[in-house]
Point group: C2
Chain length 235, copies 2
């Protein structure tokens, strides 16, 4: 049975890395002692080691050890033998580029589908969707495909932001961008505000956290989902 937490962000304003998620992580990883961490998204260009240290510190608060996938001689084997997996945020293009270059997309999908508990934040959540076509990130690397794990049957838009009616900036709002996405793509998009996450247990997908999520489907008015709403039929 698939077991995922797909979170908008690693960090909510005013608290430490993963702090707001620790209670949920404790339950999610209750049978996991050692977490395999995928640091490839490298937020701010941070090194794999430095990023892994940050994650170790956070998971130590709930009694888990963490090892970065870059520390293994064979990252495919690391995924195959993982008890639980966490992919952190950063740049989605860099993450996907690395997953393809190291031929890890398929093993990661297999591991998740076999029931290994997975947690993603931001870029690590984007890759759970069908494509990274609704990433907010700058395209600083060119991955060989935008297709990703597809372990949920829609796309994720993390860090979802509502439009600021006072803004004078002429760049597109998030909602406009996602509507544009639907001129060329048909899958639904779930905009997760910071502090929200999806819990996937088998085929059951539930919105968690204190905030609504915003769902975009082609040719439909976007709509809000309340916490504890189910998205299991969203395809």
């Amino acid at each position: 049975m698939k077991q995922l937490l797909i979170a908008s962000t690693s960090t909510v304003h005013g608290s430490g890395f993963l702090d707001y998620l620790l209670d949920a992580l404790k339950i999610h990883f209750k049978k996991v002692d050692n977490v395999l961490f995928v640091p490839y998204a490298r937020p701010g260009g941070i090194s794999h080691d430095a990023y892994t240290e940050i994650v170790q510190l956070a998971f130590s608060k709930i009694g888990k050890t963490v090892k970065g996938i870059h520390e293994f001689d064979n990252p495919k084997d690391a995924i195959k033998s993982a008890e639980g997996i966490f992919t952190g945020g950063g740049n989605t293009f860099v993450l996907v580029d690395q997953l393809y270059k190291k031929d890890l997309m398929a093993p990661l999908k297999t591991a998740i589908e076999s029931g290994i508990p997975y947690v993603g934040t931001s870029a690590g959540s984007n890759i759970c969707g069908l494509t990274i076509g609704t990433s907010n990130d700058m395209p600083i690397a060119y991955p060989k495909s935008f297709k990703t794990l597809g372990v949920v049957p829609f796309n994720i838009n993390p860090h979802y932001m509502d439009s600021d009616p006072k803004s004078t900036h002429m760049g597109e709002t998030r909602e406009t961008r996602i509507k544009e996405f639907h001129y060329y793509n048909s899958q639904p998009v779930v905009g997760l505000r910071e502090g929200s996450y999806l819990q996937v247990l088998g085929e059951k997908i539930t919105l968690k956290g204190p905030l609504n999520a915003r769902v975009f489907e082609p040719k439909k008015t976007p709509y809000e989902l309340k916490p504890e709403a189910e998205l299991s039929n969203l395809t």
Copy 2:
């Protein structure tokens, strides 16, 4: 001699489409009666015809006629015989995808390098740089390459936004994103604030408009350029 205007945006807050640029366009296109318009970026998914109508209306104010490249049977020939070219904003990925699919990237570069006056706004400016690796857009299409015209020896970041120190949003700031770009790429990046544009005349590149631009180079502190500053040696 190359002749380009590379603008951050088509529209500044509180005025109409291209209004703030019309005086500059009048000079730039003084020997041009008919402008070839490239509507492929389709802002908000607008049709090529509808986008072309908006552009026609703007250019009619300075006595120019406009024809959309999509109206020609052979878009390559349209570029080869153009008196002047304008590529409008929208989604950079969609624009670049179309330019590659229609095999127009090379003809467009040739036309610009032969001296055909070119104007780009937003996505139409992004493509003047070496790559679209510093686009702000959502990756809603997968172009066969991120490489673009390279008619200036750096990258453009249009709609450049300064960080809001009051923001509680945990997504990356523009400056952070561009710094991340430089972990993987070496070319300078010119952040053009809305209302700014670069004028390229042969090898001379000058910042125009009322605002400073922000320049990012690898391993250097970002710095500001004042209006009328030259960027001719930025590579």
